[in-house]
């Protein structure tokens, strides 16, 4: 029986069809790490926290059940699939759920510049809602806003790794606008902070996004914020 302590024999498990031999006290995550396959985790913290709360590390068993890799103990002959369409979809939805309650303030977040696991995962799984500003410092760019140049980065969906800024051009919003109120609000405050004329921002928005279904929503948010922060309506 693989649960008895002191049993040093290894057991066979099958990760995505690949055979691996691991000690019987291992979890799926430890087994998977042994062969270099990656499973995303957010709440896992080794021995300190293995409570499987975030549900991001879910993998699929032969019988279709989804189990958390960080906490599920391996058994002899266990067959695990880490990258099926169902697993990917579940990971995507979990990330979307996290974003739904997450306060996105990448521009001022201490995890800026490559320390944000959530951003990395969102980009990898195509979950949108985080602005380019979160990626820009990661690329080692100087912020155009600090130089007084209007850049649409704070309002644009991340995922391009801030290519244009690397090349020396302010962001033109080609991946489309963010739509969340709190993100737009942060962007607005950022523009105010660096004294970027709102008219410049609005004209760029009109140029690149007037055909977007979210354009009206964005401009209405801007009016609200200008009333809130500047006491008068713009555009």
């Amino acid at each position: 029986m693989p649960y008895i302590r002191g049993d040093y024999s290894l057991v066979k498990v099958y990760i995505d069809g690949i055979e691996v031999e691991v000690p019987p006290s291992y979890t799926i995550l430890q087994a998977v790490n042994k062969i270099g396959v990656k499973i995303p985790t957010l709440c896992y913290f080794g021995e300190i926290y293995r409570e499987a709360s975030c549900r991001l590390c879910l993998v699929e068993l032969e019988n279709g059940k989804l189990v958390p890799a960080c906490a599920y103990p391996i058994q002899d002959n266990l067959k695990v699939y880490t990258n099926t369409p169902r697993v990917r979809m579940t990971r995507r939805v979990v990330l979307e759920l996290i974003l739904a309650i997450h306060r996105i303030r990448c521009q001022s977040c201490p995890r800026k510049g490559g320390f944000c696991e959530l951003l990395k995962l969102c980009n990898e799984y195509g979950v949108e809602g985080i602005p380019v500003c979160a990626e820009c410092p990661l690329m080692g760019n100087d912020c155009f806003l600090t130089k007084g140049i209007p850049c649409l980065g704070p309002l644009t969906v991340a995922g391009c790794n801030a290519q244009c800024i690397i090349e020396g051009n302010a962001c033109m919003g080609c991946r489309g606008p963010v739509t969340r109120r709190d993100v737009v609000e942060e962007a607005f405050k950022l523009y105010l902070k660096y004294n970027i004329p709102m008219s410049e921002v609005l004209s760029r928005m009109k140029m690149f996004w007037s055909s977007s279904p979210f354009y009206d929503h964005l401009t209405s948010l801007f009016s609200q914020f200008s009333l809130k922060y500047q006491g008068e309506r713009h555009g």
Binding site: A52, S53, R55, K65, L66
Partner: protein
Amino acid sequence: MSSWTLLDRCCNTCWHSIDYPCRNYIRCRIEGPLCHDVSECRDKRLRRLKEIKYGKYGFKIKVPMASCTIAAGSKEVYKAVIDEVKSRGIRADISITGCMGLCFIDPWIELIKEGMPPAIYANVKPEDIPKIINEYLNGSVSSAFALRHRTGKAKDEDKVPLLEEIPAWGKQVRWVSRNCGIVNPESLEEYIAYGGYRGLERALKMKPEEVIEEVKKAGLRGRGGAGFPTWLKWKICRDQVSDVKYVIANADEGDPGAFMNRLLAESDPFRIIEGLTIAAYAIGAKQGFIFVRVEKPLMAERLSKAVEEARKYGLLGDNILGKGFSFNIEVILSAGAFVCGEETAMIAAIEGRTSPRQRPPYPATKGLWGKPTIINNVETLAHVSLILAEGWKEFAKYGTEKSKGTKMFCVTGAVKYTGAYEVPIGTTIKTLVEEIAGGVKEGRKIKAVQIGGPSGGCIPADLLDIPIDYHTLQSAGAIMGSGGIVVIDDTSCMVDVARYFTAFTVVESCGKCIPCRVGMKILYDIMTRITEGKGTEEDLEILEKLGNIVKNASLCALGGTAPNPILSTLRYFKDEYLAHIRDKKCPAKVCRKLIEYVIDESKCIGCGTCYRICSASAITKTPQGKYRIDPKKCIRCGQCYSTCPVNAIYKR
């Protein structure tokens, strides 16, 4: 008559005591004396057994004192009985008893006199007592609701039906609930007199492995909802090597609309304790807990008292019945959390923490304080006591191929006869709802039946021929759950019902994992928008997709079953959803933002009752002297609708 009870020694030949117990103590209470043949001792026992049945004077009055009967007024009835007996100097024994499960006759009383048929009187008011007692003592049972058996000697006996002739009773199989409404729940003596503790006595004469084998042959499945084979859970725990093991009785019946555990615990608490003791013996535990919901205080009180009594007579404690087996029980009150019905959350609550844990490891291997723990539902334990007492064949007589035995179901909602009914598994929903519970009230149509509480699903009216079994309900989109069945008629809106259950789960979610905490809230927001007429067809797709993800990705069974009400109503009642979305109408006229209360001025008599009653000041008088409701101010409480003396107000 001395105050000698069955539990005492019959004479000095008997050497039984708590410290040196006799192995045949239980059997001897009724069939004894077993170790010596003395007719006085035998007669003493028989006399006492008769006393228990008919009282000291041959006349006994039983008044039920369970939460539901007390709420219906049985305390006042009890007082009235005492007053009447005292004032008229009647020689009678007045005893309390538990609930029969026929809630629609609460409060009831039973009169038993030697020679007369035991008669049950329904919906009794304190002022009826003198008449009832008088009539019975004069040999007539004309006001009785039912008789337990006939004697042919009472007047008007043929006019009163037998209890088993009433469908609500006769179609049941009262296996675990056999003592409910018959014994005094506070008396260990009565429990034993009616056959109690025979199960434990027999179990202690077997090896623990044999006890597990008996439960295996019986095919008992957990009655708490999941239906896991009880013997397997016990075996896994038994096989664990550990110095300490625990057993826990799950009395945290949290499903709204389910009260069979409460009924069992308040009416026959010793049965649960016996079952728990047998379970402890089978797996090798010395300490047990009974985890009771704080919202049901009488349940906790009865169980605590029963534990005390059992301890007093050596049925708990050291060297129980001379087998060298020691076991103690602690009754623990929860602090109010539905999730505590889940095994790992219950363990957390006993440990003084919160939140469920990821399984595996399962509690049977690593549970309370890391030790192997068995958690069984109260009803399961009640079955255990009877399986050991009567043998597995008696249990397996009933039920289906895959699920043997009987189960208690609480049928509530829009039915005529609300109550807790015990039937063999495999009985169709139709039999339960229509034949036993009497079907829906006059003028209404049955729409659906919700089984399994907030974790279950709705079965539409045209599928009621489904036999109630674990797998049949699952493929229909519901779950057996703890056995709560809520009947829904055409005055209820299915979207509103689904939203109601979702609201419940959102509040009760422990918040540990993301799918349940965030996902259920999003589902709830979408359901709210739909009931307010702001839903879109895209919302239905999201409900389906997100619902399935929450189901598969949640950490514990709460999140794993929470989307069931939404998913099952989407499956069978999509038209109601579409009506809310496309037509912005609620077909059942329930969702408040989509209905209006209107006064039909042609019927209005201008009495002004509605005007006076309206707390939102939304009703004004027209120049013609009639009344009119302002839909903008109206809060749709329905007060005017229910109080209008000429029914001039309608919903649209």
